[in-house]
Symmetry: C2
Subunit: 301 residues, 2 copies
Protein backbone atom coordinates (compact mmCIF):
# COMPACT_ATOMS: atom_id res chain seq x y z
CA UNK A 1 0.00 0.00 0.00
CA UNK A 2 2.85 2.41 0.87
CA UNK A 3 4.31 1.72 -2.56
CA UNK A 4 0.95 2.21 -4.30
CA UNK A 5 0.58 5.61 -2.65
CA UNK A 6 4.13 6.74 -3.45
CA UNK A 7 3.69 5.53 -7.05
CA UNK A 8 0.49 7.53 -7.30
CA UNK A 9 2.27 10.69 -6.06
CA UNK A 10 4.94 10.29 -8.75
CA UNK A 11 2.33 9.65 -11.45
CA UNK A 12 0.42 12.78 -10.44
CA UNK A 13 3.65 14.77 -10.54
CA UNK A 14 4.24 13.51 -14.10
CA UNK A 15 0.71 14.38 -15.20
CA UNK A 16 0.80 17.83 -13.68
CA UNK A 17 4.29 18.85 -14.76
CA UNK A 18 3.81 17.47 -18.30
CA UNK A 19 0.58 19.39 -18.73
CA UNK A 20 1.93 22.61 -17.26
CA UNK A 21 5.16 22.38 -19.22
CA UNK A 22 3.31 21.94 -22.50
CA UNK A 23 1.36 25.14 -21.82
CA UNK A 24 4.24 27.09 -20.33
CA UNK A 25 6.91 26.18 -22.90
CA UNK A 26 9.78 27.22 -20.66
CA UNK A 27 12.54 25.35 -18.89
CA UNK A 28 11.87 22.41 -16.62
CA UNK A 29 14.48 21.42 -14.10
CA UNK A 30 14.42 18.16 -12.21
CA UNK A 31 16.40 17.35 -9.07
CA UNK A 32 16.50 13.94 -7.48
CA UNK A 33 17.63 14.35 -3.90
CA UNK A 34 18.20 12.09 -0.94
CA UNK A 35 17.76 12.73 2.73
CA UNK A 36 20.56 11.70 5.07
CA UNK A 37 18.13 10.24 7.63
CA UNK A 38 16.26 8.19 5.03
CA UNK A 39 14.43 8.59 1.73
CA UNK A 40 14.44 11.54 -0.63
CA UNK A 41 12.48 13.20 -3.35
CA UNK A 42 12.05 14.49 -6.86
CA UNK A 43 11.66 18.24 -7.32
CA UNK A 44 10.62 19.82 -10.61
CA UNK A 45 10.61 23.54 -11.23
CA UNK A 46 9.39 25.44 -14.31
CA UNK A 47 10.93 28.83 -15.02
CA UNK A 48 11.40 31.19 -17.94
CA UNK A 49 8.15 30.15 -19.63
CA UNK A 50 5.14 31.97 -20.97
CA UNK A 51 2.83 31.49 -18.00
CA UNK A 52 4.76 31.08 -14.79
CA UNK A 53 7.19 33.27 -12.95
CA UNK A 54 7.98 30.20 -10.87
CA UNK A 55 6.22 26.86 -10.55
CA UNK A 56 7.43 24.03 -8.36
CA UNK A 57 6.07 20.51 -8.03
CA UNK A 58 7.76 18.30 -5.49
CA UNK A 59 7.35 14.65 -4.48
CA UNK A 60 9.01 13.24 -1.41
CA UNK A 61 9.15 9.78 0.14
CA UNK A 62 10.91 9.93 3.47
CA UNK A 63 11.27 7.68 6.48
CA UNK A 64 13.10 7.71 9.79
CA UNK A 65 12.47 8.13 13.48
CA UNK A 66 10.39 10.85 15.13
CA UNK A 67 11.48 12.63 18.27
CA UNK A 68 9.01 11.90 21.11
CA UNK A 69 8.28 15.64 21.17
CA UNK A 70 7.35 15.72 17.46
CA UNK A 71 5.32 12.53 17.81
CA UNK A 72 3.21 13.98 20.62
CA UNK A 73 2.11 16.91 18.47
CA UNK A 74 1.00 15.05 15.38
CA UNK A 75 -1.89 12.94 14.16
CA UNK A 76 -2.14 9.65 16.02
CA UNK A 77 -0.47 11.29 19.03
CA UNK A 78 -3.43 10.58 21.27
CA UNK A 79 -3.74 6.90 20.38
CA UNK A 80 -0.18 5.78 19.79
CA UNK A 81 2.46 5.21 22.42
CA UNK A 82 6.01 6.44 22.61
CA UNK A 83 7.18 3.18 21.00
CA UNK A 84 5.71 4.06 17.60
CA UNK A 85 8.37 6.54 16.55
CA UNK A 86 9.33 5.06 13.20
CA UNK A 87 7.64 6.94 10.42
CA UNK A 88 7.10 6.89 6.68
CA UNK A 89 5.74 9.86 4.77
CA UNK A 90 5.04 10.50 1.12
CA UNK A 91 3.53 13.55 -0.44
CA UNK A 92 3.09 15.75 -3.47
CA UNK A 93 3.32 19.48 -2.98
CA UNK A 94 3.04 22.25 -5.54
CA UNK A 95 2.94 26.02 -5.76
CA UNK A 96 2.41 27.85 -9.07
CA UNK A 97 3.03 31.60 -9.33
CA UNK A 98 1.88 32.96 -12.72
CA UNK A 99 3.37 36.09 -14.31
CA UNK A 100 0.05 37.75 -15.01
CA UNK A 101 -1.33 39.47 -11.90
CA UNK A 102 -4.84 38.58 -13.07
CA UNK A 103 -4.01 34.87 -12.82
CA UNK A 104 -4.00 33.52 -9.25
CA UNK A 105 -1.26 31.65 -7.44
CA UNK A 106 -2.31 28.14 -6.46
CA UNK A 107 -1.01 25.70 -3.87
CA UNK A 108 -1.84 22.02 -3.45
CA UNK A 109 -0.56 19.25 -1.25
CA UNK A 110 -1.52 15.58 -0.84
CA UNK A 111 0.23 13.45 1.74
CA UNK A 112 0.22 10.12 3.52
CA UNK A 113 1.82 9.45 6.89
CA UNK A 114 2.53 6.23 8.78
CA UNK A 115 3.83 5.61 12.27
CA UNK A 116 4.94 2.28 13.72
CA UNK A 117 3.31 -0.66 11.91
CA UNK A 118 1.02 1.60 9.86
CA UNK A 119 -1.93 -0.67 10.66
CA UNK A 120 -3.33 -0.08 14.11
CA UNK A 121 -5.65 2.77 14.99
CA UNK A 122 -3.85 6.11 14.67
CA UNK A 123 -0.85 4.57 12.90
CA UNK A 124 -1.70 6.05 9.48
CA UNK A 125 -3.46 9.08 8.05
CA UNK A 126 -3.83 11.23 4.98
CA UNK A 127 -3.76 14.99 4.68
CA UNK A 128 -3.88 17.60 1.99
CA UNK A 129 -5.90 20.20 0.19
CA UNK A 130 -5.55 23.03 -2.25
CA UNK A 131 -6.13 26.75 -2.10
CA UNK A 132 -6.18 29.73 -4.43
CA UNK A 133 -4.42 33.08 -3.93
CA UNK A 134 -5.52 35.74 -6.43
CA UNK A 135 -4.24 39.31 -6.47
CA UNK A 136 -7.47 40.39 -8.16
CA UNK A 137 -10.91 38.98 -7.52
CA UNK A 138 -12.76 37.20 -10.31
CA UNK A 139 -15.75 35.65 -8.59
CA UNK A 140 -16.26 33.12 -11.39
CA UNK A 141 -12.78 31.77 -10.78
CA UNK A 142 -13.27 31.34 -7.07
CA UNK A 143 -16.67 29.70 -7.53
CA UNK A 144 -15.28 27.31 -10.16
CA UNK A 145 -12.32 26.35 -7.94
CA UNK A 146 -14.49 25.69 -4.90
CA UNK A 147 -17.16 23.90 -6.93
CA UNK A 148 -14.67 21.37 -8.30
CA UNK A 149 -13.38 20.69 -4.78
CA UNK A 150 -16.89 20.44 -3.40
CA UNK A 151 -17.89 17.97 -6.15
CA UNK A 152 -15.03 15.65 -5.16
CA UNK A 153 -16.02 15.88 -1.50
CA UNK A 154 -19.65 15.15 -2.33
CA UNK A 155 -18.70 11.90 -4.07
CA UNK A 156 -17.03 10.55 -0.94
CA UNK A 157 -18.63 9.70 2.40
CA UNK A 158 -15.50 10.99 4.16
CA UNK A 159 -15.30 14.19 2.10
CA UNK A 160 -16.73 16.99 4.21
CA UNK A 161 -16.49 20.15 2.10
CA UNK A 162 -17.88 22.54 4.72
CA UNK A 163 -15.50 21.38 7.39
CA UNK A 164 -12.49 21.24 5.05
CA UNK A 165 -13.29 24.68 3.61
CA UNK A 166 -13.43 26.20 7.07
CA UNK A 167 -10.25 24.39 8.09
CA UNK A 168 -8.56 25.92 5.05
CA UNK A 169 -9.71 29.44 5.97
CA UNK A 170 -8.40 28.94 9.49
CA UNK A 171 -5.08 27.46 8.41
CA UNK A 172 -4.16 29.94 5.67
CA UNK A 173 -4.70 32.94 7.88
CA UNK A 174 -1.95 35.55 8.26
CA UNK A 175 -2.50 36.14 11.96
CA UNK A 176 -0.28 39.20 12.34
CA UNK A 177 -2.14 40.93 9.46
CA UNK A 178 -5.55 39.51 10.29
CA UNK A 179 -5.93 38.71 6.59
CA UNK A 180 -6.49 35.46 4.71
CA UNK A 181 -3.61 34.44 2.44
CA UNK A 182 -6.12 33.92 -0.36
CA UNK A 183 -9.68 32.81 -1.10
CA UNK A 184 -9.20 29.35 0.36
CA UNK A 185 -10.21 25.95 -0.91
CA UNK A 186 -10.01 22.82 1.23
CA UNK A 187 -7.58 21.60 3.89
CA UNK A 188 -7.74 18.31 5.77
CA UNK A 189 -5.39 16.44 8.04
CA UNK A 190 -5.35 13.32 10.22
CA UNK A 191 -7.87 11.76 7.81
CA UNK A 192 -8.37 8.15 8.87
CA UNK A 193 -12.13 7.58 8.85
CA UNK A 194 -13.52 4.36 7.33
CA UNK A 195 -10.47 2.50 6.03
CA UNK A 196 -7.20 3.25 4.28
CA UNK A 197 -8.61 2.34 0.87
CA UNK A 198 -11.49 4.85 1.08
CA UNK A 199 -9.19 7.59 2.32
CA UNK A 200 -6.71 6.91 -0.50
CA UNK A 201 -9.54 6.92 -2.99
CA UNK A 202 -10.67 10.37 -1.76
CA UNK A 203 -7.13 11.78 -1.89
CA UNK A 204 -6.63 10.33 -5.40
CA UNK A 205 -9.78 12.03 -6.64
CA UNK A 206 -8.75 15.29 -4.97
CA UNK A 207 -5.35 15.22 -6.65
CA UNK A 208 -6.87 14.27 -10.00
CA UNK A 209 -9.19 17.27 -9.69
CA UNK A 210 -6.30 19.68 -9.32
CA UNK A 211 -5.75 20.43 -13.00
CA UNK A 212 -9.51 20.74 -13.78
CA UNK A 213 -9.88 23.08 -10.78
CA UNK A 214 -7.09 25.41 -11.85
CA UNK A 215 -6.31 25.21 -15.58
CA UNK A 216 -9.48 26.90 -16.85
CA UNK A 217 -8.77 29.84 -14.52
CA UNK A 218 -5.14 30.06 -15.58
CA UNK A 219 -6.09 29.97 -19.24
CA UNK A 220 -8.72 32.67 -19.09
CA UNK A 221 -6.60 35.07 -17.02
CA UNK A 222 -3.11 34.60 -18.48
CA UNK A 223 -3.74 36.76 -21.52
CA UNK A 224 -5.53 39.65 -19.84
CA UNK A 225 -3.78 43.01 -20.14
CA UNK A 226 -2.17 44.50 -17.05
CA UNK A 227 -0.05 47.49 -16.07
CA UNK A 228 2.73 48.43 -13.66
CA UNK A 229 0.27 49.13 -10.86
CA UNK A 230 -1.20 45.66 -11.17
CA UNK A 231 2.32 44.16 -10.97
CA UNK A 232 3.07 46.28 -7.93
CA UNK A 233 -0.04 45.04 -6.14
CA UNK A 234 0.82 41.46 -7.12
CA UNK A 235 4.26 42.06 -5.56
CA UNK A 236 2.66 43.22 -2.33
CA UNK A 237 0.37 40.18 -2.23
CA UNK A 238 3.43 38.02 -2.83
CA UNK A 239 5.10 39.70 0.13
CA UNK A 240 2.15 38.52 2.22
CA UNK A 241 2.57 35.03 0.77
CA UNK A 242 6.20 35.05 1.94
CA UNK A 243 5.12 36.27 5.38
CA UNK A 244 2.62 33.45 5.75
CA UNK A 245 5.01 30.76 4.57
CA UNK A 246 8.02 31.84 6.63
CA UNK A 247 6.14 32.80 9.79
CA UNK A 248 3.07 30.55 10.00
CA UNK A 249 3.20 27.60 7.63
CA UNK A 250 3.79 24.46 9.67
CA UNK A 251 5.52 22.53 6.89
CA UNK A 252 7.92 25.37 6.11
CA UNK A 253 8.82 26.28 9.69
CA UNK A 254 9.22 22.59 10.60
CA UNK A 255 11.45 22.03 7.56
CA UNK A 256 13.64 25.03 8.31
CA UNK A 257 14.04 23.98 11.95
CA UNK A 258 14.83 20.36 11.24
CA UNK A 259 17.10 20.81 8.26
CA UNK A 260 15.20 19.44 5.28
CA UNK A 261 16.30 20.26 1.73
CA UNK A 262 16.12 24.07 1.84
CA UNK A 263 15.57 24.57 -1.90
CA UNK A 264 12.58 22.22 -1.90
CA UNK A 265 11.11 23.77 1.25
CA UNK A 266 11.44 27.31 -0.10
CA UNK A 267 10.37 26.37 -3.64
CA UNK A 268 6.97 27.72 -2.53
CA UNK A 269 8.25 31.30 -2.34
CA UNK A 270 7.49 33.58 -5.31
CA UNK A 271 10.39 34.70 -7.49
CA UNK A 272 9.77 38.30 -6.45
CA UNK A 273 7.99 39.95 -3.55
CA UNK A 274 7.47 43.48 -2.35
CA UNK A 275 7.07 45.38 0.93
CA UNK A 276 5.95 49.01 0.90
CA UNK A 277 5.73 50.82 4.22
CA UNK A 278 2.09 51.48 5.16
CA UNK A 279 0.76 50.51 1.75
CA UNK A 280 -2.89 51.43 1.44
CA UNK A 281 -5.38 50.49 -1.24
CA UNK A 282 -7.35 53.19 -3.01
CA UNK A 283 -10.99 53.43 -1.92
CA UNK A 284 -13.30 51.80 -4.45
CA UNK A 285 -10.42 50.15 -6.34
CA UNK A 286 -10.03 46.54 -7.48
CA UNK A 287 -7.28 46.19 -4.89
CA UNK A 288 -9.67 47.21 -2.13
CA UNK A 289 -12.26 44.72 -3.42
CA UNK A 290 -9.68 41.94 -3.06
CA UNK A 291 -8.56 43.06 0.38
CA UNK A 292 -12.15 43.15 1.65
CA UNK A 293 -12.57 39.49 0.74
CA UNK A 294 -9.29 38.59 2.45
CA UNK A 295 -10.49 40.29 5.60
CA UNK A 296 -13.87 38.56 5.59
CA UNK A 297 -13.77 35.03 4.10
CA UNK A 298 -16.96 34.14 2.28
CA UNK A 299 -18.92 31.02 1.29
CA UNK A 300 -18.49 30.43 -2.45
CA UNK A 301 -20.61 27.40 -3.34
CA UNK B 1 17.28 59.05 33.64
CA UNK B 2 14.53 57.27 31.68
CA UNK B 3 13.58 60.58 30.17
CA UNK B 4 17.20 61.48 29.33
CA UNK B 5 17.59 58.20 27.48
CA UNK B 6 14.32 58.55 25.57
CA UNK B 7 15.21 62.15 24.66
CA UNK B 8 18.56 60.97 23.39
CA UNK B 9 16.88 58.36 21.17
CA UNK B 10 14.64 61.04 19.64
CA UNK B 11 17.57 63.38 19.11
CA UNK B 12 19.54 60.65 17.36
CA UNK B 13 16.54 59.93 15.16
CA UNK B 14 16.42 63.62 14.21
CA UNK B 15 20.14 63.74 13.42
CA UNK B 16 20.10 60.57 11.38
CA UNK B 17 16.93 61.21 9.40
CA UNK B 18 17.83 64.85 8.72
CA UNK B 19 21.24 63.87 7.39
CA UNK B 20 19.95 60.99 5.31
CA UNK B 21 17.07 63.02 3.94
CA UNK B 22 19.37 65.82 2.83
CA UNK B 23 21.43 63.32 0.84
CA UNK B 24 18.53 61.24 -0.41
CA UNK B 25 16.24 64.10 -1.47
CA UNK B 26 13.13 61.92 -1.56
CA UNK B 27 9.98 61.73 0.51
CA UNK B 28 10.04 61.40 4.27
CA UNK B 29 7.00 60.09 6.03
CA UNK B 30 6.49 60.31 9.77
CA UNK B 31 3.98 58.34 11.81
CA UNK B 32 3.34 58.92 15.49
CA UNK B 33 1.70 55.83 16.90
CA UNK B 34 0.48 54.67 20.27
CA UNK B 35 0.41 51.24 21.80
CA UNK B 36 -2.79 50.09 23.46
CA UNK B 37 -0.93 48.59 26.44
CA UNK B 38 1.14 51.75 27.03
CA UNK B 39 3.49 54.10 25.21
CA UNK B 40 4.10 54.40 21.49
CA UNK B 41 6.60 55.58 18.97
CA UNK B 42 7.67 57.73 16.07
CA UNK B 43 8.44 56.02 12.76
CA UNK B 44 10.11 57.77 9.86
CA UNK B 45 10.53 56.24 6.44
CA UNK B 46 12.36 57.62 3.39
CA UNK B 47 11.26 56.48 -0.06
CA UNK B 48 11.44 57.62 -3.64
CA UNK B 49 14.81 59.30 -3.20
CA UNK B 50 18.13 59.14 -4.95
CA UNK B 51 19.93 56.77 -2.58
CA UNK B 52 17.48 54.50 -0.82
CA UNK B 53 14.98 51.98 -2.02
CA UNK B 54 13.62 52.01 1.53
CA UNK B 55 15.01 53.44 4.73
CA UNK B 56 13.24 53.30 8.08
CA UNK B 57 14.24 54.86 11.38
CA UNK B 58 11.99 54.12 14.32
CA UNK B 59 11.94 55.26 17.95
CA UNK B 60 9.71 53.65 20.52
CA UNK B 61 9.04 54.31 24.19
CA UNK B 62 6.79 51.61 25.61
CA UNK B 63 5.79 50.39 29.02
CA UNK B 64 3.48 47.81 30.51
CA UNK B 65 3.55 44.47 32.25
CA UNK B 66 5.58 41.42 31.21
CA UNK B 67 4.17 37.91 31.25
CA UNK B 68 6.10 35.78 33.80
CA UNK B 69 7.11 33.59 30.83
CA UNK B 70 8.61 36.53 28.92
CA UNK B 71 10.28 37.86 32.08
CA UNK B 72 12.04 34.54 32.71
CA UNK B 73 13.69 34.60 29.28
CA UNK B 74 15.12 38.09 29.32
CA UNK B 75 18.00 40.03 30.85
CA UNK B 76 17.70 40.31 34.61
CA UNK B 77 15.74 37.06 34.65
CA UNK B 78 18.24 35.34 36.90
CA UNK B 79 18.37 38.10 39.49
CA UNK B 80 14.86 39.49 39.57
CA UNK B 81 11.81 37.87 41.07
CA UNK B 82 8.36 37.34 39.61
CA UNK B 83 7.20 40.59 41.24
CA UNK B 84 9.23 42.78 38.90
CA UNK B 85 6.99 42.47 35.88
CA UNK B 86 6.44 46.14 35.14
CA UNK B 87 8.70 47.25 32.33
CA UNK B 88 9.80 50.32 30.45
CA UNK B 89 11.70 50.15 27.17
CA UNK B 90 12.99 52.74 24.76
CA UNK B 91 14.98 52.22 21.62
CA UNK B 92 16.06 53.46 18.24
CA UNK B 93 16.07 51.02 15.38
CA UNK B 94 16.95 51.58 11.75
CA UNK B 95 17.41 49.68 8.51
CA UNK B 96 18.61 51.35 5.31
CA UNK B 97 18.36 49.55 1.96
CA UNK B 98 20.14 51.50 -0.82
CA UNK B 99 19.19 51.22 -4.51
CA UNK B 100 22.70 50.60 -5.73
CA UNK B 101 23.71 46.95 -5.29
CA UNK B 102 27.29 48.10 -4.62
CA UNK B 103 26.12 50.03 -1.52
CA UNK B 104 25.43 47.82 1.51
CA UNK B 105 22.29 47.59 3.60
CA UNK B 106 22.86 48.62 7.21
CA UNK B 107 20.97 47.94 10.42
CA UNK B 108 21.43 49.55 13.82
CA UNK B 109 19.59 49.37 17.11
CA UNK B 110 20.18 50.99 20.52
CA UNK B 111 17.88 50.17 23.40
CA UNK B 112 17.33 50.55 27.13
CA UNK B 113 15.18 48.28 29.24
CA UNK B 114 13.93 48.56 32.81
CA UNK B 115 12.07 46.15 35.04
CA UNK B 116 10.49 46.90 38.40
CA UNK B 117 12.13 49.87 40.10
CA UNK B 118 14.88 50.12 37.47
CA UNK B 119 17.46 50.47 40.22
CA UNK B 120 18.36 47.18 41.84
CA UNK B 121 20.73 44.68 40.29
CA UNK B 122 19.28 43.22 37.09
CA UNK B 123 16.48 45.81 36.94
CA UNK B 124 17.97 47.73 34.00
CA UNK B 125 20.17 47.07 31.01
CA UNK B 126 21.19 48.39 27.61
CA UNK B 127 21.49 46.55 24.33
CA UNK B 128 22.22 47.32 20.73
CA UNK B 129 24.70 47.20 17.92
CA UNK B 130 24.97 47.68 14.20
CA UNK B 131 25.82 45.44 11.30
CA UNK B 132 26.49 45.73 7.58
CA UNK B 133 24.97 43.61 4.79
CA UNK B 134 26.65 44.12 1.42
CA UNK B 135 25.70 42.28 -1.78
CA UNK B 136 29.24 42.81 -3.07
CA UNK B 137 32.39 42.76 -1.02
CA UNK B 138 34.52 45.91 -0.74
CA UNK B 139 37.07 45.06 1.91
CA UNK B 140 37.80 48.74 2.60
CA UNK B 141 34.16 49.30 3.49
CA UNK B 142 34.03 46.40 5.92
CA UNK B 143 37.29 47.40 7.56
CA UNK B 144 36.14 51.02 7.92
CA UNK B 145 32.81 49.96 9.45
CA UNK B 146 34.41 47.61 11.96
CA UNK B 147 37.22 50.07 12.76
CA UNK B 148 34.76 52.82 13.75
CA UNK B 149 32.89 50.39 16.01
CA UNK B 150 36.11 49.08 17.50
CA UNK B 151 37.31 52.63 18.22
CA UNK B 152 34.16 53.35 20.22
CA UNK B 153 34.58 50.11 22.17
CA UNK B 154 38.21 50.88 22.88
CA UNK B 155 37.28 54.20 24.48
CA UNK B 156 35.05 52.52 27.04
CA UNK B 157 36.02 50.07 29.78
CA UNK B 158 32.76 48.17 29.17
CA UNK B 159 33.15 48.12 25.38
CA UNK B 160 34.47 44.69 24.43
CA UNK B 161 34.83 44.71 20.63
CA UNK B 162 35.98 41.09 20.28
CA UNK B 163 33.11 39.73 22.30
CA UNK B 164 30.50 42.03 20.69
CA UNK B 165 31.82 41.23 17.20
CA UNK B 166 31.52 37.50 17.80
CA UNK B 167 28.08 37.95 19.37
CA UNK B 168 27.02 39.78 16.20
CA UNK B 169 28.30 36.97 13.95
CA UNK B 170 26.42 34.44 16.05
CA UNK B 171 23.20 36.42 16.19
CA UNK B 172 22.92 37.40 12.51
CA UNK B 173 23.38 33.87 11.28
CA UNK B 174 20.82 32.36 8.89
CA UNK B 175 20.84 28.91 10.47
CA UNK B 176 18.84 27.12 7.77
CA UNK B 177 21.27 28.38 5.08
CA UNK B 178 24.38 28.19 7.25
CA UNK B 179 25.27 31.66 5.99
CA UNK B 180 25.85 34.95 7.78
CA UNK B 181 23.29 37.66 6.95
CA UNK B 182 26.16 40.05 6.27
CA UNK B 183 29.66 40.96 7.36
CA UNK B 184 28.67 41.70 10.95
CA UNK B 185 29.57 44.55 13.23
CA UNK B 186 28.80 44.52 16.94
CA UNK B 187 25.90 43.20 19.01
CA UNK B 188 25.49 43.46 22.77
CA UNK B 189 22.66 42.82 25.19
CA UNK B 190 22.03 42.76 28.93
CA UNK B 191 24.76 45.40 29.32
CA UNK B 192 24.81 46.47 32.97
CA UNK B 193 28.45 46.49 34.00
CA UNK B 194 29.80 49.40 36.08
CA UNK B 195 26.85 51.78 36.43
CA UNK B 196 23.96 53.10 34.38
CA UNK B 197 25.80 56.29 33.50
CA UNK B 198 28.82 54.48 31.98
CA UNK B 199 26.58 52.15 30.00
CA UNK B 200 24.53 55.05 28.68
CA UNK B 201 27.71 56.86 27.76
CA UNK B 202 28.90 53.83 25.76
CA UNK B 203 25.55 53.47 23.97
CA UNK B 204 25.49 57.22 23.20
CA UNK B 205 28.94 57.03 21.61
CA UNK B 206 27.93 53.94 19.65
CA UNK B 207 24.83 55.66 18.30
CA UNK B 208 26.78 58.83 17.51
CA UNK B 209 29.25 56.71 15.54
CA UNK B 210 26.54 55.33 13.30
CA UNK B 211 26.66 58.01 10.62
CA UNK B 212 30.50 58.15 10.53
CA UNK B 213 30.59 54.34 10.24
CA UNK B 214 28.19 54.19 7.31
CA UNK B 215 28.00 57.45 5.36
CA UNK B 216 31.47 57.29 3.75
CA UNK B 217 30.63 53.80 2.47
CA UNK B 218 27.26 54.88 1.15
CA UNK B 219 28.78 57.88 -0.59
CA UNK B 220 31.58 56.04 -2.35
CA UNK B 221 29.35 53.16 -3.55
CA UNK B 222 26.10 54.93 -4.48
CA UNK B 223 27.37 56.20 -7.82
CA UNK B 224 29.11 53.06 -9.03
CA UNK B 225 27.73 51.61 -12.26
CA UNK B 226 25.78 48.34 -12.09
CA UNK B 227 23.79 46.08 -14.38
CA UNK B 228 20.75 43.80 -14.30
CA UNK B 229 22.80 40.89 -12.98
CA UNK B 230 23.99 42.96 -10.03
CA UNK B 231 20.37 43.90 -9.24
CA UNK B 232 19.33 40.28 -9.50
CA UNK B 233 22.00 39.22 -7.01
CA UNK B 234 21.01 42.09 -4.71
CA UNK B 235 17.43 40.75 -4.91
CA UNK B 236 18.59 37.29 -3.89
CA UNK B 237 20.59 38.69 -0.96
CA UNK B 238 17.48 40.65 0.04
CA UNK B 239 15.51 37.41 -0.03
CA UNK B 240 17.98 36.08 2.54
CA UNK B 241 17.49 39.24 4.59
CA UNK B 242 13.74 38.58 4.62
CA UNK B 243 14.37 34.96 5.63
CA UNK B 244 16.53 36.00 8.56
CA UNK B 245 14.15 38.67 9.79
CA UNK B 246 10.95 36.62 9.52
CA UNK B 247 12.38 33.30 10.71
CA UNK B 248 15.17 34.10 13.18
CA UNK B 249 15.19 37.72 14.34
CA UNK B 250 14.02 37.80 17.96
CA UNK B 251 12.57 41.32 17.79
CA UNK B 252 10.59 40.61 14.63
CA UNK B 253 9.21 37.22 15.64
CA UNK B 254 8.37 38.53 19.14
CA UNK B 255 6.60 41.55 17.62
CA UNK B 256 4.58 39.45 15.18
CA UNK B 257 3.53 37.04 17.93
CA UNK B 258 2.54 39.69 20.43
CA UNK B 259 0.81 42.12 18.11
CA UNK B 260 3.04 45.19 17.96
CA UNK B 261 2.60 47.78 15.20
CA UNK B 262 3.08 45.58 12.12
CA UNK B 263 4.25 48.35 9.80
CA UNK B 264 7.00 49.39 12.23
CA UNK B 265 8.08 45.80 12.85
CA UNK B 266 8.25 44.99 9.13
CA UNK B 267 9.79 48.34 8.18
CA UNK B 268 13.08 46.39 8.20
CA UNK B 269 12.09 44.37 5.12
CA UNK B 270 13.50 45.51 1.77
CA UNK B 271 11.09 46.94 -0.79
CA UNK B 272 11.83 44.04 -3.13
CA UNK B 273 13.26 40.57 -2.66
CA UNK B 274 13.90 37.58 -4.88
CA UNK B 275 13.93 33.79 -4.63
CA UNK B 276 15.34 31.72 -7.47
CA UNK B 277 15.20 27.96 -7.17
CA UNK B 278 18.69 26.49 -6.64
CA UNK B 279 20.45 29.73 -7.47
CA UNK B 280 24.17 29.17 -7.81
CA UNK B 281 26.95 31.70 -8.06
CA UNK B 282 29.41 31.50 -10.96
CA UNK B 283 32.83 30.16 -9.99
CA UNK B 284 35.35 32.95 -9.62
CA UNK B 285 32.67 35.67 -9.72
CA UNK B 286 32.19 38.66 -7.41
CA UNK B 287 29.03 36.94 -6.15
CA UNK B 288 31.03 33.87 -5.14
CA UNK B 289 33.57 36.08 -3.37
CA UNK B 290 30.74 37.56 -1.27
CA UNK B 291 29.20 34.17 -0.53
CA UNK B 292 32.53 32.77 0.64
CA UNK B 293 32.79 35.52 3.25
CA UNK B 294 29.22 34.87 4.40
CA UNK B 295 30.04 31.20 4.87
CA UNK B 296 33.24 31.87 6.83
CA UNK B 297 33.06 35.07 8.93
CA UNK B 298 36.43 36.78 9.20
CA UNK B 299 38.24 39.16 11.56
CA UNK B 300 38.35 42.61 9.97
CA UNK B 301 40.32 44.84 12.34
Amino acid sequence: MKKRIADFMHRMQDDITNTLHALDQGEIREDIWTRKEGGGGRSRVLTGGRLFEKAGVNVSVVHGELSPEAAKNMGGGQTLGAEDLEFYATGLSLVLHPHNPMAPTVHANYRYFERGDGVKDGAWWFGGGSDLTPSYLFEDDVIHFHQVLRDVCDEHAIGDYSRFKQWCDEYFHIHHRNEARGVGGVFFDDLRDENKESCFSFVKDMAAAFLPSYLPILQRRSNLPYDENNKRWQGIRRGRYVEFNLVHDRGTTFGLRTGGRIESILMSLPETARWEYCHEVVKGSKEEEMLNILRRPREWV
